[in-house]
Symmetry: C2
Subunit: 214 residues, 2 copies
Amino acid sequence: MARYPGISLSVTRRMPRYYRFLAELMANGVERISSREFAELTGLTASQIRQDLNCFGGFGQQGYGYNVAALHTEIGRILSLDKRLPTILIGAGNLGLAVGNHMKFDEQGFQLIGIFDSNPQVVGQEIQGIRVRSINEIQSFCLENRPVIAILCIPRSAAAELSGDLVGWGVKGFWNFSHYDLSVAHGDQIVVENVHLGDSLMTLSFRVNELIDQ
Amino acid sequence: MARYPGISLSVTRRMPRYYRFLAELMANGVERISSREFAELTGLTASQIRQDLNCFGGFGQQGYGYNVAALHTEIGRILSLDKRLPTILIGAGNLGLAVGNHMKFDEQGFQLIGIFDSNPQVVGQEIQGIRVRSINEIQSFCLENRPVIAILCIPRSAAAELSGDLVGWGVKGFWNFSHYDLSVAHGDQIVVENVHLGDSLMTLSFRVNELIDQ
């Protein structure tokens, strides 16, 4: 049974943002914050924030606001950031390297246990203390170590080829930097977070041209 | 005067997605598509797509649907992807390298004209044929070359320090991978697209734990 059945994706997507801003408040020594102040900080409305948090039980007190540290802990728990889901990274090119080196997986619910690449010049190198393995070893590795998450930093065609096998070997979640549409192929069996950097760049193009043309 | 005043950010953000799917249809030789089929492909509703495109004039024909190549061209024009806004990349660590090497700037409205880093070991290296310059040269470079866009692949503190200067030197748009909140400091003078990879990862954590717990 899901812990929070029926939570919408848009509510889900705002929770990491709350978590991030709460961490920042803690770092600045702020102990409590009103929903109005928190709304200003995050660029949302106070009623939106209250509504979102009410989906998980609500954590504010009338006339007090939110206890920053307590809410931070609570949201971390909701997001399951204390879990260490076994995770593999596929593709150790520039993007895979950046993702592997840049992300704090163990603070965000994941444990990186394997890295794979098809390029012999990359195989054998170390990223975060993990040796890059040949893609030829991926099946035996998955059957033995049962990763739940795969991060795809590979081209579309390679993602199309591999994803079915990965689902078959028990992978349930994908952090997908390729442009292959995993959800269409595997539907409700898996969860996919797509990162479309190109979409973000094109959005910037539109918005900045609108600004300049003013 | 903005070309499309009052277009909401959520409509704006769906346009690159349409553009991406249309490119894919073209690559597969598809010449026209009904709004119902296009809705299925993109995971939206037909009425949503019609509404979005109507903000820009609407491009479908009753009983015909959309001409794939024509709509692709039209959306590219709306997004100003044919512009080549002078762009600088600040930070050539793993993330900056990945962004610099991975993105097709010239297909997405930008021209990369300068790369900067503070690390002497990185300065002098080449990315996409552009030599990485010392961060100490950034002021003279900006005053001479007038970049309109800055890509920030630097830590929060460095972003906080630099952003005011960049705005002063005429930068109008930021593609922001740092966690510094530029909008708060500079408001309506600039456009910011934030990429919060950590938020995406935390969302994946929540969603996959919900799936596993079922």
